[in-house]
Subunit: 354 residues, 2 copies
Amino acid sequence: MRPMHVQHIRYEAGVLFLLDQRQLPQTVTVRELRDWRSVGQAIENMVVRGAPAIGITAAYGMALAARAYAWQPDFLVRMMHTAAGLVKTRPTAVNLAWAVNRMMDRIRRGIAAHESPESIVTAVEQTAAAIHADDVSACRRIGDLGAPLLAEQSSVMTLCNTGSLATGGYGTALGIVRSAWRDGRLRQVFVCETRPLLQGARLTAWELAQDGIPYVLITDSTAGDLMRRGEVQAVVAGADRIARNGDVANKIGTYGLSVLARAHELPFIIAAPTSTFDLQQASGAEIPLEQRAASEVTEFHGVAVAPEHAVAANPSFDVTPAAHIAAIVTERGILRPPFDDAIAALLREPEALR
Amino acid sequence: MRPMHVQHIRYEAGVLFLLDQRQLPQTVTVRELRDWRSVGQAIENMVVRGAPAIGITAAYGMALAARAYAWQPDFLVRMMHTAAGLVKTRPTAVNLAWAVNRMMDRIRRGIAAHESPESIVTAVEQTAAAIHADDVSACRRIGDLGAPLLAEQSSVMTLCNTGSLATGGYGTALGIVRSAWRDGRLRQVFVCETRPLLQGARLTAWELAQDGIPYVLITDSTAGDLMRRGEVQAVVAGADRIARNGDVANKIGTYGLSVLARAHELPFIIAAPTSTFDLQQASGAEIPLEQRAASEVTEFHGVAVAPEHAVAANPSFDVTPAAHIAAIVTERGILRPPFDDAIAALLREPEALR
């Protein structure tokens, strides 16, 4: 097994290389970004997507801005402006704000300690690289912790893309799939195509094919029928933000799958690094949910699939209540209901013990 | 309100004109078919779709064959061959076999009564026209009977296309929507786009837009979230075949919507003419469910949306158990659980009382 399946985010001395995920699997295009505004646009336009991956990308965006601004008298103000600009590109995934805040903390410490611009830039680039490396480790740990939750010879259903392309590498829900496959526990994966942008079909099927993991691609509305036939043993999904009570915001359709899993008495498992938790949100009702352009639904590759002036809603995320979730797998352990206590206990531990 | 919204099936002296539904809403192309084999291909390739509509189309296909073969010595054998060829084009919708059998009955009666080839052809064409006209009347009756089932100011969810394009005219589930709109009971319709062939986006949104009925197009996986938010008051769907116990085979995704409706305590209403009932099937487990080509999922307008050699499943239908259904609206009355008794009673009535 290759340790990192797709090196889709790469930073080198002032250039951020991003694999353009919008064009996969047809075309492998790498974009070269040299300033933070291009990085913000790449996140907004979904050149890169996936909660952990956009956190990492934004961290590198902060590094690019630091290189540009560290010698300016208004460095801190410019970085605060940059941070705000990056955070607002996608409202739901909290990893974005988490990564940007961690970068700002390092910058503030550097300024407070009167570090030279050169040292601050170096430290900021190292922090971004550490966020990236930590995410890869977290995903491997999530995968290894989560795999034993699956019964032997499980067929597992998942949606969207939670793999290497959605993270620093290896994946969250797809990390569990990878570890389970490595351990011989996995029979196959049912991949929901995930309309409207088809991340399941375009990205997850592509990653699984590359790893030789057996999968069956399905339309999102086929999920219920497969469960009714007893062909699915568990559902694994990622998360864009997890509230204090364990409610999970994730790709639209996650909630529906959780209702189906419940009706068929299947375990519904969430996989996410601790950077996905937002203790400022008491419940899912408080999580901001992005609405994207109707044209993502009414057009396909520029071809209209609905009548002219069609009215369409395109919420990108929904909220799955904690009550529907059997386990939340993090890099620091598996959380079980009641999640409010489990989350508080996990995040209360000092960093040193983590 | 226009009495027939789309005249998409039209027969004139040996020519069947079919609106090509695959190209809607972009292009309005009418195909001219002059022999039964082209009619069979049009059904198989989904130039026309929708259980009642393919029954009507097949009836006209039988009429074209009768015109071609009525003067041949082996007329009956040729018509039996034609009937078998038409029935096998789509396995799930029973209206197809129902219409073809009704045509065969008329042909057999004509032959037994030594009618002239000319009279048989005329009678056969009249029978096809009657099947067509009866379906339009049945749909209007279904709409008018079903509309009062919706609470005042309901927002109703539906999937696929059950409108004029799926029937002789007016529609089944969309007939209920049309009658409810006329009666001022309807707030709006949530239209599931219905992957893979997007009949919701391409056909239902198009019909509703033409009638000025407010609708919101959504991806199929958005359904659950809208129900959770309390934005949906009922789900209405059509049927391709209804077993003796009330189990319903219909477009893939219907089952999932029925589970979601149940979890949110929403009425789940099926609308179908009595030609959709198949008393030979004790339950949904016996209904043959069509599997269509994987390429419908892995490609879009000829563009690949999944990796090369992607493995995909593409079941066109699923089965919704009778226990999930609040009412089945037919042109002869509204059936309520327990459906086995209700269906037996309804279909036992002599035709004269219907």
